[in-house]
Every structure is written in structure tokens, then in C-alpha cells.
Amino acid sequence: MKCFGFAGNAVLGLCLSSSLLAAPTPERKTELLYLLAQDCGACHGMRLKGGLGPPLLPDALHQWNAEQLAQTILHGRPGTPMPPWSPFMTEQEALWLAQQLKEGISQ
């Protein structure tokens, strides 16, 4: 997918699925993984094996692609305890996190 020369908010969504997107900085990646283990871990388990929330290991997530997972991270799942995390990360950060989950995060 191609992005246009200007990067207005309306266009950002279209750019999301592009592999050309800049990844988070190394510092931010560390922060995101810490958030994942500690705060997502409150429901999904620190080792992502599940708890009140479902497991987030690659096997458990195979039916969704990274874009779909990123949307769930950002907007939550209405009717379940999963809250929207969009106040705390950008769309591309959520996508990066979703990709890490799909690939599996080494413990």
C-alpha cells in the first residue's frame, strides 16, 4: 500500500497496513513490551498464557491478522473487560505490538 505525500490523520489509517511504516524506537519498544507483560499481563498473564482474559500466544491468535489484533488493542472489545488502549499508544505502536504477539515473544 502506498501513502500519499502528506500525512494528515485521515490518511494515516490507510497507511497503517503498509510495511513502510516507521517502527517504534528501541526505547519505546522496551516500554511497550513492559506494558504488555505487566499491564496486559494483569488479565492475560505475565507470560501471556491467559487469565481472566484469553491467552495471547501465537497459537491462540492464529485466526486474526496483525491489523485486526491492532484494532482490538486500540479499541477494546465491547461487552468484554478488554478496554481500549488507544490513549496510551499510537496505531503503529499497536500494530508493532500485534506483530510481536503473532511472532511470539520470547520469555
Partner: protein, 390 residues
């Protein structure tokens, strides 16, 4: 000669057998969970000192602890289904079993002989001998989809009972273990949508479930179970926008002061006040964020509250008489748990991101001392051994 040899052996034996074990009372001891490293610290609450670290307890995210009635053994419930019996005098694991795939705390029976564990996977409750951790009873929860419902809010109750809730199917079960060979179940199927935790009042009479799926709580009078589940604080959030919940509140640290009980609201930045005489709403206290633990100082004079992400760097103290917040402390990010010393002169607070335990004087509400712990979460003092529901 024989007597001399015997005496010599006697003199040597205890020394060699108990070389690593402390010889002291345990009433001022406790256990702190180090969640990321799968270890626990054994601490002296009088000396503010770490006595030892015990490792090898598996995944301790969301771990909790109950104590044997002699206050010597701590039973640690891990997330990975691990149940570990730790001798706190010797700083050693006595026995460890992997009893389930994914679990969420437990309870010890009135007589101290049985330890029950609440499991998410496979959904249900298992009961073990507190002595050797051998399985005594296996109570699967109601089937839900292709599994069994997760169980939550497991507490001990008088008359050798355990009480817990079924998260997925909205039930409350009483498990009577009077005859360990014949566990007797009483089921209530109208608890409400998604009970996420439970508490029992300090006298062991009332069991309350918090509900995630609706604004209200479910009450069961264990003196009169025939009356069934009663809804209390129905529609407590009426007319208010429900806020996202970044960490589920906990009910285990019950907060009762005088006639009033204090409970965390879900999806509202409030502590709910309920009059225990008639279970009618008696007020709401606006607080800094989504409350996680609302805990009463043992004398009921103050309530200490911590909060969910992103407000988990703060603790607030509420005056139980005026219902006003009287102190806001910035303890640091990842403030996860609080535990009062048995008579309440101190509260110990775990601050995950600072790798620190902070000890506050509750009278002055000021920091008294602090020490290091690796990513600490739950703090559990031995006096819990003699309190129902903890």
C-alpha cells in the same frame, strides 16, 4: 558411655538438622511475592528486614498466599497452576504441585486441614490436604462453550465450607467439605453477569460478588442460604459514563468499618459505601482512578485505596467517618498491593516499577522506611492465618 554418646548426638543433631531454619515465633513474619522472578521474600515485620528469598515458584503473576494455622507454612498460589507449600522458618519449599493449567488464588479451610484452589483452566476448584498437598476433591465448574467456567472469588467460610463464583456462567457455589470424602455442593445460578471476584465479611456471614457485566453486586447470606442471591447497590453507576477498566478490582481485601462496607466501583472512579444493616447504598466517594484494592486499617478508622493503570502511581487514604480523602500519596508507578500490620500501625505497599516495598506510618501517613524487592506484588502477613476469608 552410651548416655554420653547419646547426649553428644542430641547436642549435634538439632544443630545440623535445623542449621538453616530460624528458631523464633512467626507472628511478625510475612511473605512478599516477587512476581516476575517466581520468588518470594520472607520478611520480619518488626525489624523491617528480609529474612530469606525462596525461588522456583513458577509464574507468580497474580499470586496469593494463605497460611497454616500454626503460621509456619505459607501456601502460595501461582498463575501457572502451581501450589507451593513454603516453610517460612526454614526458607524452603516443602512441597510443590502443578495442580492446574491456570489458576487464580485459593483458601484454607476453617480447621486448616484443606487448601482449595480456584482454577481458570480447567475451570473449577480442587481441594488438597494442607499436609502433603494430595488431592482430596476435584469440583469441575459448569461447562461453558468447549470448556468449564472459570472460577473466581474463592473464600473459606465457617462450618468447613468454601464459597466461590463462576465467572462465565454467573453462579455462586457453596462447597461443604465437612466430610472430605463427600463434598456437598449448593448452587445458585442467578448471581449476575460476569462475577469477577468475591469477598466474605470478617464474621464469615455474607459473601459478596462484584459483577463486571452489570452495575451491582450479588449478596449471599451464609446464615440463610435458602434466601438465595440478593442484588445490592443495583445500578450504582446510573447516569454516569462507564470508564474503561485497565485492571480488575479486587474484593479480597474487604473493607468494613463500623456498620459500613466499602467496595470498589467498576468502570467508575469511586469507592461505594454500603450500610451493612440493610445493604442500602450509603454514598460514593470520588477517588483518583479505578480502585483496585479498598482496604480498611484493622481498626476501621481509615481506608487505603490503590488504583488501576494508568493511575497506579497513587494511594489515597479515606477517613471512614467523614468519607473524605484525607491524603494522596505518590508512591510510584506500579503500586500493586497493600498490607496492614496486624494492629494497623503500619501499612506495607509494593511498588513494582521502583522494585521497592514502602512502609508507611498509618497515623501520620508518612513514609517510615523502604527496602528493595524484585518487581513486588502481593504482600501477605501471617496474621491472615487467623482471619476468615483471607
Amino acid at each position: 558411655m552410651r548416655l554420653n554418646t547419646f547426649l553428644l548426638l542430641l547436642a549435634l543433631l538439632p544443630g545440623s538438622l535445623l542449621a538453616d531454619c530460624l528458631q523464633r515465633g512467626t507472628g511478625d513474619m510475612g511473605v512478599i511475592i516477587e512476581r516476575a522472578s517466581g520468588s518470594v521474600l520472607i520478611i520480619d515485620t518488626s525489624a523491617h528486614e528480609v529474612l530469606s528469598r525462596v525461588e522456583g515458584l513458577g509464574d507468580l503473576s497474580h499470586a496469593s498466599v494463605v497460611y497454616s494455622r500454626d503460621e509456619r507454612y505459607a501456601y502460595v498460589f501461582g498463575r501457572d497452576g502451581g501450589l507451593t507449600k513454603v516453610d517460612i522458618l526454614c526458607g524452603k519449599i516443602v512441597k510443590r504441585v502443578l495442580q492446574g493449567g491456570n489458576s487464580i488464588g485459593g483458601a484454607i479451610s476453617q480447621d486448616g486441614k484443606l487448601v482449595a484452589v480456584s482454577n481458570y483452566t480447567p475451570g473449577g476448584v480442587k481441594v488438597f490436604s494442607s499436609d502433603d498437598l494430595s488431592l482430596v476433591a476435584d469440583i469441575p465448574a459448569t461447562p461453558f462453550k468447549d470448556k468449564h467456567s472459570k472460577t473466581v472469588g474463592l473464600v473459606d467460610a465457617p462450618d468447613q465450607r468454601f464459597v466461590f463464583a463462576l465467572y462465565d456462567t454467573g453462579e455462586t457455589w457453596i462447597l461443604d467439605m465437612t466430610d472430605p470424602a463427600k463434598p456437598a455442593l449448593t448452587r445458585f445460578t442467578d448471581t449476575g453477569r460476569l462475577p469477577y471476584d468475591g469477598l466474605i465479611t470478617p464474621d464469615g456471614r455474607y459473601y459478596i460478588n462484584g459483577l463486571f457485566g452489570e452495575d451491582g453486586l450479588a449478596l449471599l447470606d451464609l446464615w440463610h442460604p435458602e434466601k438465595g442471591i440478593r442484588r445490592i447497590l443495583d445500578h450504582y453507576g446510573r447516569g454516569e459514563q462507564k470508564l474503561p477498566v485497565y485492571k480488575m478490582p479486587h474484593l479480597e481485601g474487604w473493607a468494613v468499618a463500623g456498620d459500613r462496607a466499602f467496595l470498589p466501583a467498576v468502570g467508575h472512579h469511586e469507592v461505594l459505601v454500603v450500610n451493612m444493616r440493610d445493604w442500602q447504598a450509603a454514598g460514593k466517594i470520588p477517588v483518583h482512578g479505578q480502585p483496585v484494592f479498598v482496604m480498611s486499617r484493622p481498626d476501621g478508622r481509615q481506608l487505603w485505596v490503590n488504583f488501576a493503570f494508568p493511575n497506579n502511581d497513587t494511594v489515597q487514604v479515606i477517613d471512614s467517618e467523614t468519607l473524605k480523602v484525607i491524603k494522596t500519596l505518590k508512591t510510584g508507578k506500579g503500586t500493586l498491593h497493600m498490607e496492614f500490620t496486624p494492629r494497623g500501625e503500619e501499612v506495607w505497599i509494593s511498588v513494582r516499577d521502583k522494585d521497592e516495598i514502602q512502609v508507611y506510618d498509618t497515623r501520620t501517613m508518612t513514609l517510615k522506611t523502604h527496602f528493595k524487592a524484585q518487581k513486588p506484588s502481593g504482600i501477605f502477613f501471617t496474621d491472615r492465618a487467623h482471619r476468615t476469608g483471607l
